[in-house]
């Protein structure tokens, strides 16, 4: 047995204007989970401590919270992997959500973004056109099973730095779930779904891999890349800055072997988009004043033909 002290965020939106913290100490084996420690604290010390939980085995997705500043499932986190030398574990509600009571948050923005996807199959044709169930090959199904493991715990959404500054961003889970229908061979709304998720800022993903902490290994980070590739393959909303950026990066690497910064900026914003270019001009001028401007043209690397051979063999789309 060990003494575990939970340092808990306490707040009740019904009565409190500011949160406070309580330290609650419990005697439990140190290999048990943070959720076990919370359950013990609630049962033995303070029945008013509030948190969501149900299955206690990483299936229901209820108990995601911040544990020492990193979001994760309390039921999947043993105390001895997170406690400090004094046995203290700091628990807070998930960030990027409005706290409701203690560790319970308002999940509405997460569910809103999910329901915008129309997260159900919209078949290509009527059921009556089939005399048996619609079949999916094992290879086609393999693409979908990882995403189907998503338990909607919102860990990725809470970890996402883009959501934290721009709540219009769909967030990792919604994009991963869009992928689940975009790549479903039975679905008839592929183009509409790609357009919808592009409008919800698919291309605003910052490539930070924070969502690689997914407790169910859905890896939304990789699924987001898959959806972007689908958008480029099907040429959906190609005039957005995201796809233009990806394609012009490819173009400069193919031409010079290097990512040519100046051309990438112009190609992403648009060479004739005067207003857009003026917006980035102040930073450009500040950099120029320090002699820090990237060169207007980049000299190709030695043997750049080899790079072009790679691009041509793989038929990489570039602008």
């Amino acid at each position: 047995m060990a003494q575990i002290t939970l340092n808990i965020f306490r707040f009740d939106e019904a009565v409190d204007t500011v949160p406070h913290r309580d330290a609650v100490t419990v005697d439990i084996p140190e290999t048990t989970t943070v959720l076990d420690a919370l359950e013990t604290a609630k049962a033995e010390v303070d029945g008013s401590i509030s948190f969501r939980r149900s299955c206690r085995s990483a299936i229901c997705g209820s108990c995601s919270m911040n544990i020492n500043g990193v979001t994760g499932l309390a039921c999947k986190t043993p105390c001895n992997t997170v406690m400090d030398e004094n046995g203290v574990v700091v628990v807070d509600p998930m960030p990027n959500f409005q706290p409701m009571k203690d560790l319970v948050v308002h999940m509405d923005p997460f569910w809103d973004k999910y329901s915008r996807l129309k997260p159900y199959l919209q078949p290509k044709d009527a059921d009556s056109a089939h005399d048996r169930e619609r079949r999916v090959s094992p290879d086609d199904m393999k693409k979908l099973v990882d995403v189907a493991n998503c338990i909607m715990c919102a860990t990725c959404y809470a970890l996402c730095p883009v959501v934290s500054v721009d709540p219009a961003f769909a967030g990792p889970a919604a994009i991963a779930y869009a992928y689940r229908f975009i790549e479903d061979v039975r679905d008839g709304q592929r183009t509409e779904r790609i357009a919808q998720i592009s409008e919800d800022y698919l291309w605003l993903c910052a490539h930070c891999y924070a969502c690689s902490y997914c407790p169910k290994h859905v890896d939304p980070n990789d699924r987001i890349i898959d959806v972007k590739r689908a958008a480029i393959k099907d040429r959906v909303m190609m005039n957005e800055r995201g796809p233009r950026h990806a394609l012009v990066v490819g173009k400069t690497i193919k031409q010079t072997g290097m990512l040519a910064e100046t051309e990438v900026i112009q190609g992403t914003i648009g060479r004739f988009n005067v207003r857009g270019l003026l917006k980035v001009a102040p930073l450009g001028l500040r950099m120029a004043a320090k002699g820090k401007m990237p060169p207007p043209f980049v000299k190709p690397i030695p043997k750049v033909d080899e790079v072009r051979t790679i691009f041509e063999t793989l038929e990489v789309p570039v602008s």
Binding site: N68, L204, A206, A210, S212, R229, G291, I301, P317
Partner: protein, 316 residues
């Protein structure tokens, strides 16, 4: 606490003791930004290598690593481009490729992992490389200069080389996503609780500042997608650093550097003025090891880092 070396017979990984480490001759992949808008990073890296008595052999015909963006258009191209780079290192007899950019580190390691874990993908890459007479055997390890400093030079040795300790300068570490995440690709230290930069700051006489923003994203990769988002991400992180007493920031990534140094002016409206000067990793280490400040390109930064060095009596 420094990271420990694993036995040599383990699979090629982040902590591998390379042949290059034994000979102190390393393959060097500077990446695009250190050759374009952050020349001061390239120059200070070479000056640091001189102090450390190691040889960085630039892979001059190497291409861009793909910068994470190229993955959005094709799943194979970054892997094959990097296989071409590794083949160049092998041809020079080098089994270690040192990077000075977090994004290069993560994406080159991801490509290398795919190549080595799957015979099919290695054969696929080599079938294309064969068209111009190249072949990658799979012997290369990709590591960041930060890892080289800690694993090969060692914190104790570094400490003994310091001639100009930082006088307790409060430095906020800013890791940059791709040097720590995903853990399955990098794995050199915990992505959730890394401490290599803190160890390094301490070794050169600074005081590391702990704040939640140190492992968060700078927003560089989406700076052009939508206005203010990247600036807000910079502002949020730098606000946290400043509130925890930071006087300066250190980063192993030039992309983070461009964002942190460039956008603090724009983020001030929402997050308040922070104006934290940002050092490239080799700049601050080289400074502590005695390289004259005027050789480190500090005058190229938008937020001039020389002011805090003056305040701490480190330069006149």
């Amino acid at each position: 606490m420094s990271a420990t070396l694993l036995p040599e017979d383990l699979p090629l990984d982040a902590h591998r003791r390379t042949h290059s480490a034994a000979t102190k001759r390393y393959g060097f992949f500077p990446g695009c930004v250190a050759k374009e808008s952050c020349r001061e990073l390239f120059n200070s890296t070479m000056l640091l290598a001189e102090r450390l008595n190691i040889e960085l052999i630039e892979l001059t015909a190497a291409s861009c690593c793909g910068a994470s963006v190229i993955n959005d258009v094709n799943r194979d191209v970054a892997r094959v481009l990097n296989a071409r780079t590794y083949a160049q290192a092998e041809a020079l007899g080098l089994d270690d490729v040192i990077t000075i950019c977090s994004t290069c580190t993560g994406h080159m390691r991801a490509a290398n992992k795919e190549l080595r874990d799957s015979e099919g993908l290695m054969d696929h890459a080599n079938a294309i490389l064969r068209k111009f007479g190249a072949k990658y055997e799979g012997t290369v390890t990709v590591r960041h200069l930060l890892w080289l400093l800690i694993d090969d030079i060692g914190l104790d040795a570094l400490r003994s080389m310091v001639v100009r300790p930082l006088n307790g300068l409060k430095v906020a570490p800013f890791y940059g996503c791709h040097i720590i995440r995903p853990e399955s690709v990098n794995g050199w230290e915990s992505a959730r609780r890394p401490h290599s930069l803190e160890d390094l700051i301490e070794a050169i006489g600074g005081e590391p500042v702990d704040y939640a923003g140190k492992t968060r994203c700078c927003g560089f990769h989406i700076q052009l997608e939508k206005e203010n988002v990247a600036a807000d991400m910079v502002g949020q992180n730098m606000r946290m650093a400043a509130d925890h007493g930071a006087e300066a920031v250190i980063t192993p990534c030039p992309l983070c550097h461009l964002a942190l140094d460039g956008y603090q002016a724009d983020s001030a409206a929402r997050w308040g003025r922070t104006d934290l000067p940002t050092f490239h990793l080799p700049q601050l280490v080289a400074f502590a090891l005695g390289v004259p400040a005027d050789k480190l390109g500090l005058n190229k930064h938008l937020i001039d880092p020389r002011n805090v060095l003056v305040e701490r009596d480190l330069i006149a």
